[in-house]
Structures are given as C-alpha cells and as structure tokens.
C-alpha cells in the first residue's frame, strides 16, 4: 500500500469536522510553526522539501515564497487558487470536500511563513457546496483559536475568507484570479511585475494551488528533508491524481511520485484498467492542455524505459514524444473514442474560455474550433490539417497568458500522433458522421444529422 500524506485519514468518519480532524493529528503543524519556528524557518523547510506547485506549472513552492517582496508598512497576501476547472482535473474539489481542514491548516502555516494577516481562498463559483464546507471549517477553526487574533497565544493574527468565482476557466491563471478577486473581469495581467511584487491591490502576494498549500502540513510536521525522500529526482513527495475517462475505477488517488504509469492505470490499487475490457487508445496525462499521447508512448519513454508519474518522466522527449504532469488530470481514452471529436471538444472549451484580450487567442481558438468541427462533421479537406497546424503555431507563445498555449498544444499533439484519424474523417465523411450519429447535432445545429 502506497504512503499517503494528504489523504491519510480520508476514510475516517467525520474527518470533515474540526474535532475529528484534530483528534487525528490535525493542526499539529500550526502549533509547531507558530510556537517553535520563525516564518523564515517555515520557508526553509518548504524549500528543503522540493515541493513543486501542484496547480500545473510545477514551479518550486519555496522559491516562489522567497521572491515575496517585504516592504515595511505594506500588507502581504496569500491567495489560495481553488479555481479548479482544467478539464480532467478534480483533485482540489475532492480535497476541499472531504478534508477542508487540511487546506485551512496549510493556509495558516503558509500565511504565517509569508507574513500575511488576511488570506483568501478563491474557489470556482460552481463549487458552492465546497464553499459552504470551507466556510463552516473556518468558523470551527476560529472557535478553537486557530484563526483570528493572537492565534494560540503566539501574537500572530490571521483571517481567512472564501471568495467565489463565477464561471471562468481563465481565473485559474494567477493574475486573472487576482483581477477577479478585485471584482473585475478575469483578464490576465502582463508580467512583470509578478504578484510577488505587485499582486492583490498592488501588494506583494503569493498565489498557490489548493494541493500545494495542503502539502505544507506534512512538510512542517515531518520536516522538509523527510518529504524530499519520497519520490524521485526533482519530483518529490506525493501527488493527487484525478483519473477520468474510460477507466474501471476513475477517481482521485494520492500517489508517491515515481509510480510507473502502467501500474497507475492497470493495478487494482489505482484505476483498475480500462473499462469494459477494452484496449487503451490514448491518455491525456495532466489535464486537457497537455499533449495527448497514444497508448504505447504513455507507457514507455523515448528511450524505451518505463514512463513514471514524475514531472521529468512524463515530459521525457519534450513535445515530440512526451507530455507533462500538469495539474494531474489523467484522462484515459479507450479504443472506441474519436480523437478528432475530443480535440474539437477541447478546442470549443478553450474558445469558450478565452478572455479575448489577445488576438491570437481570441481569433485563433475560434478558428481552430470551426476547422475541427468542419472535419468532424464530414466537410473537411486535407488542407485543413495543415491549416490547423499553422493556426496553433501562431497562437503558441504569442499571448499574455498560457491559455493560448493550452489551446494550441492539444491540437498539435492530436495531429502529431493521430493524423491518420483526421485523414480518415476527411476521406470518409459519411462513415465519420454515422459513427457519431445522434451526437453530431450538438456540434452545430446548422449541420444536418445524417439520416
């Protein structure tokens, strides 16, 4: 049985409540940090742990914290990014639902380390039940003296508030999130300045993912060096993976980084293999934005080694034969799934979610969606494949925020690995439509469903 750090007590009845969480060792890290460690000590432990941001970018958390500006007389903020909406990713929702106090405990420790006295948890608006769970947890923690004035007699004051989003994927980007938290449209800011210098209300701010913040709890409890012993190379610790698609047991799993991908997919401890006895066709390993890999490449790296669930191994070979750990959104496709239809679906998502600030993203995502839709519905031309390639190339790297890249990569990877499927759609339009009979009219009401 693999070691768990975040989900250790997930099966304990009532672990959502403060009392049960506390009885099971909860809030020890707050006591330890506030009573025996300086804020800099906490930052140092997080650096030693090698923890990398669990939201997708994988930037070292301790290093991010050390960039925080500390001018006198200016408030500093910690903002927790709970705006989870990358298709395939639902780990933070799981964590907030089942162990909300783990996030709060991490928020207190992290806020203390950063010198923040007001912290916000920005949760996507659709997660109203999770928002209510967190608000209740905050009240419980405050009643027990772990929030508010002079926490545990340490002289440290902290208030935590939950802020709902309102349905915009772009608000997962940290500067768009800050704009939204300031009551504006979620348009990403040009960087620099980075939030560590000028974030919320122009003040120094750290934005961390839900899972990253929760991970500081075992780091402080056991020490950064112990945490770093788990995992492989620069992929230390454990990671929550959200598994979805055509699996026997989709769900959220905590893995030790370094687990072979094959074991994650096929072992009974995790996903239990492909549903309905079918063969695996492809995997998106880190949420919809990361490149899709066909079955053979997700299991083996470019050198023929077993591919591991680590930042390095999943990216092995770069975009030619690798992918990315991303946010840990692991989507599995069985042999019957249509890659063209899925690529169109993802393209529609990115078009819908583009904030519209940058022309390449605003125009390009819509253009890609239209071309993919045309191919999917039997009106494609072979030149459309080259057109798609050209559009995605013109979006990537040419936008203020990474949404442009996120929209371009799935299209590029689908063409790279499944070009024959695009060509089949174009050469056999009637067959392609029949395959999707009953679904096509959702693609576009103007295109008649074949009868």
């Amino acid at each position: 049985m693999a070691r768990k750090l975040l989900l250790t007590h997930i099966d304990v009845p009532g672990i959502q409540t403060f009392d049960v969480y506390r009885q099971n060792g909860g809030y020890r890290s707050v006591e330890k940090a506030l009573k025996t460690m300086s804020p800099d000590d906490v930052v140092e432990e997080v650096k030693k742990s090698g923890l990398r941001g669990r939201g997708g970018a994988g930037f070292p958390t301790g290093m991010k914290w050390s960039f925080l500006a500390k001018p006198e007389g200016v408030p500093r903020y910690l903002v927790c990014n709970g705006d989870e909406s990358e298709p395939g990713t639902f780990k933070d929702r799981f964590l907030m639902t089942h162990i909300p106090h783990a996030l709060l405990e991490g928020m207190i420790v992290s806020s203390y380390a950063l010198g923040a006295h007001t912290s916000y948890i920005y949760v996507r608006g659709e997660m109203m039940p999770q928002i209510r769970i967190l608000e209740r947890a905050i009240q419980e923690a405050k009643a027990a003296g772990f929030l508010g004035k002079n926490i545990l007699g340490s002289g440290y004051d902290l208030e935590i508030y939950v802020q709902p989003g309102a349905g915009a994927y772009i608000c997962g980007e940290e500067t768009a999130l800050l704009e939204s938290l300031e009551g504006k449209r979620g348009n990403p800011r040009i960087k620099p300045p980075f939030p560590a210098i000028a974030g919320l209300y122009g003040c120094p701010t750290v934005v961390n993912n839900v899972e990253s913040i929760a991970a500081t709890v075992p780091i402080i409890n056991d020490g950064g060096e112990e945490y770093a012993k788990i995992g492989i190379e620069r992929s230390t610790g454990t990671k929550l993976i959200s598994a979805s698609g055509n699996l026997v047991k989709p769900g959220v799993y905590e893995i030790e980084l370094g687990l072979p991908v094959e074991e994650f997919i096929y072992s009974d401890e995790y996903c239990g293999g492909i549903a309905n006895g079918k063969k695996m066709k492809a995997v998106v390993a880190g949420g919809s934005s990361v490149p899709i890999l066909p079955a053979n490449l997700i299991l083996k790296t470019a050198n023929g080694n077993n591919r591991l669930m680590t930042y390095e191994s999943l990216a092995d070979g770069g975009f030619q034969t690798g992918s990315s750990m991303g946010s840990g959104g692991f989507i599995v496709f069985d042999e019957d799934q249509c890659i063209v239809r899925n690529t169109w679906n993802f393209s529609r998502f990115y078009h819908h979610e583009s904030c519209g600030q940058c022309s390449p993203c605003r125009e390009g995502t819509g253009w890609m969606e239209k071309v993919l839709h045309k191919i999917e519905n039997g009106h494609g031309d072979l030149s459309d494949i080259e057109l798609l390639w050209d559009i995605q190339r013109r979006i990537e790297g040419n936008t203020i925020c990474p949404l442009g890249d996120a929209a371009a990569w799935p299209v590029a990877a689908a063409i790279r690995h499944f070009r024959d499927e695009f060509e089949w759609h174009i050469k056999h339009p009637a067959d392609a439509l029949i395959r999707n009979y009953g679904l096509a009219h959702y693609a576009d009401p103007l295109v008649p469903v074949v009868s």
Binding site: P75, E84, S85, E86, P87, G88, T89, F90, D92, R93, T118, R124, G125, E126, M127, M128, P129, E159, Y161, Q163, P164, G165, A166, G167, A168, Y169, S180, L181, E182, G183, K184, R185, G186, Y201, S242, A243, S244, G245, N246, P250, G251, V252, S288, G329, I331, F333, Q337, R341, N342, N345, F346, F349, H352, E353, C355, G438, L439, Y442
Partner: protein, 172 residues
C-alpha cells in the same frame, strides 16, 4: 450580448443587505468592489437572474459605476442575464464527461423536457444548458442545479428522469 426584455424593479431586503455588508467587511477599506462577484451570486439566488435594475442597485450599493457591474456580469458564465426556468439544469459538456456519455444525457434531457438548450419549459419550471468543465470528471456525466449548485453525478437516462420527476412533484 446583453439583451434584456424585462424592466423588473427589485428591492433588496434587509437580510440581503446584511449579507452584502458582511461580504464587504472581508476586504480592506476602499476595496469594496472585491465584493462584487459574491454579491451578484446572492442577488441571482434571490431573484433568479440579474436584471438591469438589480445590477444598477448593486453598483449604487458598492459605489461603483453601473458599467463596472455590467462588464463583470457579462464576462462570467454563471450569471444569468435573462429570466430562466425555476430550475436551470447545467450539464457538463466537456471532454471527460463526453467520454462517458454526456452528449447522450443532453439529448435525453432535450427529449424529456421538450425544449432546446436555453429555452424554458411552458410551465416555467425548467431550462437547461451545456456548460464547460464542472471539475467532477471522474464522476461523469454530471449536472448541477443552481442556486445551491447541487451536483448530480454518474447520470443515466433513468436518473435524469427521476430527477426531473422529483423536481416537478416538489413544485406541485
């Protein structure tokens, strides 16, 4: 595009105003605009949608310009700018849910309710729409119903029928 057919006049109750004040208190002085998104959620939950008058009054309450409210309300997909059915069924239509049958659920919903996406049933009870990722991919297909945003997971045609029948009977 903001297109409004209704000139409904709204009044905020004292309960609602107290909730507004609580939210404004979470932010530093002078940063009351940060309360805009949660306040719009509360207004929508109370009135079912965001009418122009409601948005104007929110602007007045927060001491910001009405355009600042309109530009936010039109940016975020959760805000409803037209009157809807009493129950708005929002089905996730994004990749992972589609891998396990979301499109079939949308087709079934359309057939069961007898209205197309975005339309309201003649009795005013239901409207439905496809929405982008609801972050519950492992439990798909999923749908949610506001204003509490209750989740229904692992949907089948039968469970959708049951859900609609339950909601219908609750209203009778």
């Amino acid at each position: 595009m903001l297109s409004v057919k209704n000139n409904e006049v709204v009044e905020f109750s004292s309960t609602l105003l107290n909730q507004f004040a609580d939210i404004v208190g979470r932010f530093p002085e002078g940063r009351q605009k940060s309360a805009l998104l949660p306040i719009l959620h509360l207004v929508q939950a109370e009135f079912g949608w965001l009418s122009p008058d409601a948005m104007n009054k929110v602007a007045y309450y927060l001491s910001i310009e009405p355009i600042e409210v309109f530009e936010v309300a039109t940016f975020y997909t959760m805000y409803l700018l037209q009157p809807q059915g009493k129950y708005v069924l929002e089905v996730c239509r994004t990749g992972p849910c589609c891998l396990v049958g979301a499109e079939g659920i949308m087709a079934h919903l359309e057939h069961k309710l007898g209205v197309k996406e975005g339309e309201v049933t003649p009795d005013g009870l239901f409207s439905w729409r496809g929405v982008e990722c609801l972050a519950a991919c492992g439990y798909g297909p999923v749908l949610q119903i506001g204003p509490a945003y209750t989740f229904y997971e692992n949907l089948t045609a039968d469970s959708v029928d049951q859900l609609i029948d339950d909601l219908s009977s609750k209203t009778i």
